[in-house]
Subunit: 376 residues, 2 copies
Amino acid sequence: MLVGVLGGGQLARMLALAGYPLGLRFRVLDPAERPPAAELAAHVCGRYEDPDAVARFAADLDVCTYEFENVPVETASLIERQLPLYPSGTALAHTQDRLAERQFLCGLGIPVARFVAIDRLEELPDALSIVGTPAVLKRRRLGYDGRGQAIVRSRGDAAQARAWRTIGGGPAIVEELVPFRRELSLIAVRGRTGETRCYPLVENHHHDGMLRSSVAPAPDVSSRLDTEARAHADRILGALGYVGALTIEFFEHDDRLVVNEIAPRVHNSGHWTIEGAETSQFENHLRAIVGLPLGSTAPIGCTALVNVIGSTPDPTAILCLPDTHLHLYGKTPRQGRKLGHVTARAPDASTLAARLAHLRRLMPGDTKGHGSCEAR
Amino acid sequence: MLVGVLGGGQLARMLALAGYPLGLRFRVLDPAERPPAAELAAHVCGRYEDPDAVARFAADLDVCTYEFENVPVETASLIERQLPLYPSGTALAHTQDRLAERQFLCGLGIPVARFVAIDRLEELPDALSIVGTPAVLKRRRLGYDGRGQAIVRSRGDAAQARAWRTIGGGPAIVEELVPFRRELSLIAVRGRTGETRCYPLVENHHHDGMLRSSVAPAPDVSSRLDTEARAHADRILGALGYVGALTIEFFEHDDRLVVNEIAPRVHNSGHWTIEGAETSQFENHLRAIVGLPLGSTAPIGCTALVNVIGSTPDPTAILCLPDTHLHLYGKTPRQGRKLGHVTARAPDASTLAARLAHLRRLMPGDTKGHGSCEAR
């Protein structure tokens, strides 16, 4: 079975690594000359907007998926006319625009931060008078790893103009800055038959808008919170008739969850599942989209992942740590670029905490920002 | 780092799958047009005896290894003059000829079955008078999966001639048929610095000379036996200055071990390590040959593997079993051909036994021979 992936980055690469044992083969569409997945999948080099490239990519695929939510909806529609696309173009449309995403979540009764949509800088003062300051200004489209976002700390004109420039202008949404104890994420998978499984909630640590490390399962999660997260996932998956892996990022505050965003794909905060769960998020996403039964999402011990950003640590120092595994994405080092991740597993949370602390000390300068939950 | 693998079969394929996350890239040399590893590694199509093909293969490799022991020693020597080959050509020479292998083991004081080397059918009667009947006649070279072997049940001329024809003639060895309770195997890995790790002993079940299933760790292994197996491994690895994974197949009889054969490579009976050990045999072989620290060989729960032979079972039936994973090698089905394997993991041995029994029932006809230890 030939699986097409829109996007040939590290997620497509790890999908391919998980899929060959299932007897799958892969083709990716990516405008880059040598994207990470091209080492182990056929690569059509072309833009997502180029119908010829899309046609060459889609020819004789059995099923198609995407590794990022910024694929043009028109491209998704073009593909859906020819073959199954999972998750669907509808799921894409609901998640690539922050306004559509929030409206969709509100319609399901799922809590999100208070927000106002604006198109021009002139609308910002009114929006701030509704959501208050500090607030977060977010571009509606094409934001990732904290890009396209800015905090507006005061209602002064200069602060507003600066934030507007930072995000590169509208359309945007203005959102109240939710106070939170920590960020959690949930990865849920739904098969073609509607079968659904959730991985345990994960605690994520960001710095400069990028995920630096995660701990799974997240420590100290009440059963109420866990139930709430799974109920949100069920509602979202059901409403979209979703097939594949979906990620929900939450803020936790006072033992309640507010959804920050959803991503229609496998996710960086789920990379721990390669070693730390009975079935990885990559294998389960593939099982879902090709119509196989889902595998268990149960964790194996406790697992932490640390992202490798900017430059690669000494692999010898990393790999002499107990039960630690290195995952490189085959990318050229560049400041601020995600080059890989390291997973460490331990039998219990306190052993894991010590291993994680050690691991962080081995990371090169660019990945130092591993403190606990920092401001977004 | 570019790793060359002599042979592009399923072992090379699984090495590549384990190696990409370590930042390695792969090139294989294989005479087949589309060997299993070619889907995810560069493939030089050529014979191992062809110096031009070997030169194209070896150009700019950083390190080289092999996935089977029947690579010509001359090819290994050619490569060793240009770049590091792990395991070495010496390890290859000691394991691709059953006579050399047994002489080497005897020289280390490691117990093997009593044997006599012969070149012609006319020497067989004398050999049988030394080792007795029933005996096993084995071709010295190019035997695998039970091929090139025949049991000589009586000393009659007809039986001798039949066995001689079955193995395709000499040079051969004649070996006493060791009574045994079961077959066990041990996979040991030695790094460039001499660091050595052993996976737990595995119990193997054969039928028609082919491995059908394995259980890891092998149940009911006395600590004496375990210590003995590890001591044998240490002696072999040390004597060869070995780098990489080495497999030792043992017969267990009266709580003692007799070595049946050794293989200078990862092994079918170690495929369970992908899910069932903290570090897979494939990752550890690669860590060894590229000079990285070895990973833990500790098991995670109990694991069974069942080979997929001849035809592929219904993947849906397989994958709806708990904690079960499918590994296909991308081969065209053909009677008696190893097409893949299935791994099932369980928290304890009795749960695993039930899962294994269930799994065997799901295998197509060609893989039915999963009874307990059968005659070789």
